[in-house]
Amino acid sequence: MDKLINEPTAYVDEMLDGMVAAHDGLRRLDGTDVLVRADGPVEGKVAVVTGGGSGHEPTHAGYVGEGMLDGAAAGAVFTSPTADEFSALIDAADGGAGVLCVVKNYEGDVMNFDTGAEMAGMEGVEDVEQVVVNDDVAVEDSLYTSGRRGVCGTILVHKCAGAKAAAGADLDEVARVAEKVVDNVGTMGMALTSCVTPEKGEETFDLADDEMELGIGIHGEPGVERTETASADEVADTLLDHVLDDLDVAAGEEVVTIVNGMGGTPLSELYIVQRRVAERLDEAGVDVHDAWVGDYMTSLDMKGCSVTVCRVDDELKELLAAPAETPALTVGE
């Protein structure tokens, strides 16, 4: 197995210890897989927290720090954290002004977070709000699905909600801003290879060298369609078309884009995709306010990428530009 690991069962535990060893700004709650700001809870500030399965690094704890998240709970690989962990997270992050939980839409995450919030409520944390991110346009939101998945657009929710909270806004305001991002963001992803989970040690699904999966999530689950591989430009076109179509972005509007790597694709290839995304938006008369390129929300060692588009107004632009100091994202003053 081509992995730098010790015991597969120690994967999450050792990774979290490594994060704390590298980043002074992070602290691990004893006996949990929860990382919080070392200088937290910040008295009087709304806390913004999240959580989810591991294997998506730097998501989630990589975004814990000033101006972004106050804490994150890590589940087993691709498995949402348990209610206890969410509860411990909420308790520890609460600075008395309430807690906003950013959850990626999936029944497992939502159910565990709900239960965790209830448990935290029992322990005296009163104001807990949940925002559910569901930016994956590959999945129809219909009677036949459990709604759209939450994927890479979530990072923009973390950034904007985190900045709003840092600016001293109250819980309602922070939640409003988070919802605004959710309403304006769409993502679609694709995979060239399956990922390999530490426990299974082999590819989750078979994908021939000349095949790709379109509309994948971030858990190594199959996508919505399998096709022949295509050029980077064609891939960029397909992903972008779906997203623009869904968001109904018009010429003259302003957006922020993310070309996100799934973990095993080199940065150089992401820039090749970025080139085409920028070209296409330029042709469409859409104004790109900012473009992010990199591994923001991954699926272990999967090769592939996702394209995120978020419509921004002055408020969101300001929040995105606000300072942040986290292991995975730093925005200077």
């Binding site: 954290p81 999936y106 497992g108 036949y144 459990s146 998945r149 699904f205 190594g220 199959p222």
Partner: protein, 211 residues
């Protein structure tokens, strides 16, 4: 004492379930890799191991308390969708066993489990989830005990049979809940992992009862 012998039976059952779920861990994960994210077997194996590690603690409790601990342990160890669904339903249904375990309270437990499961997950029969194994099993058990006056073991045997048909029923379905729902028609033709694991658990409960 009745509390003790009930709990003893529970411990026997848990041991069997533990063995079975570890035996089937790879298979369940494999099923989940077809239409989900390849972790269902691992999630349950982790959960049941945590439960059986509490063997001594469970042994000292009356049946309802013991089952409640099983539920909270699953909730805090399994994670994912299966954690709150399996664990939360066990936890919630445990109160039906306050007066001990008999045919009547077993039916009440089963029905409470089914209710909590569907309430929590929002899935209905035909959504290609564990509900497709649970619902027919619970209804069959209930009818066998309440209307046909069958002994519990025979009723449970019928329930297992119903669950098995429920699992097979999931194969041609298109999922509407859980990760499999993202696949649309591509999930058609695959067995649901949660329904399958539910069947395995029921089979082990039956084997315990038959002993």
């Amino acid at each position: 004492m009745s509390a003790d012998s009930d709990t003893e039976a529970l411990l026997d059952a848990l041991e069997r379930i533990d063995e079975r779920l570890h035996d089937e861990q790879a298979y369940l994960t494999e099923l989940d890799s077809r239409i989900g994210d390849a972790d269902h077997g691992n999630n349950l194996a982790r959960g049941i191991s945590a439960v059986t590690e509490k063997r001594d603690e469970l042994a000292g409790k009356p049946i309802d308390e013991a089952v409640k601990t099983v539920g909270t342990t699953l909730v805090s160890e399994v994670g994912g969708a299966a954690g709150p669904l399996y664990g939360g339903s066990v936890l919630s249904a445990s109160q039906e066993l306050e007066g001990g375990l008999d045919a009547e309270s077993a039916v009440a437990f089963a029905e409470a489990y089914r209710e909590k499961l569907t309430e929590r997950g929002g899935a209905r029969p035909g959504d290609k989830t564990m509900v497709d194994a649970v619902t027919p099993a619970v209804h069959t058990f209930q009818r066998a005990v309440e209307e046909d006056d069958l002994p519990s073991v025979d009723a449970l045997a019928k329930a297992v049979d119903a669950a098995r048909r429920g699992v097979e029923y999931t194969v041609p379905l298109r999922a509407s809940k859980g990760r499999a729902s993202y696949l649309g028609l591509r999930g058609v033709g695959h067995r649901d992992p949660g329904a399958t694991s539910t069947l395995f658990v029921l089979e082990e409960l039956l084997a315990t009862a038959e002993d």
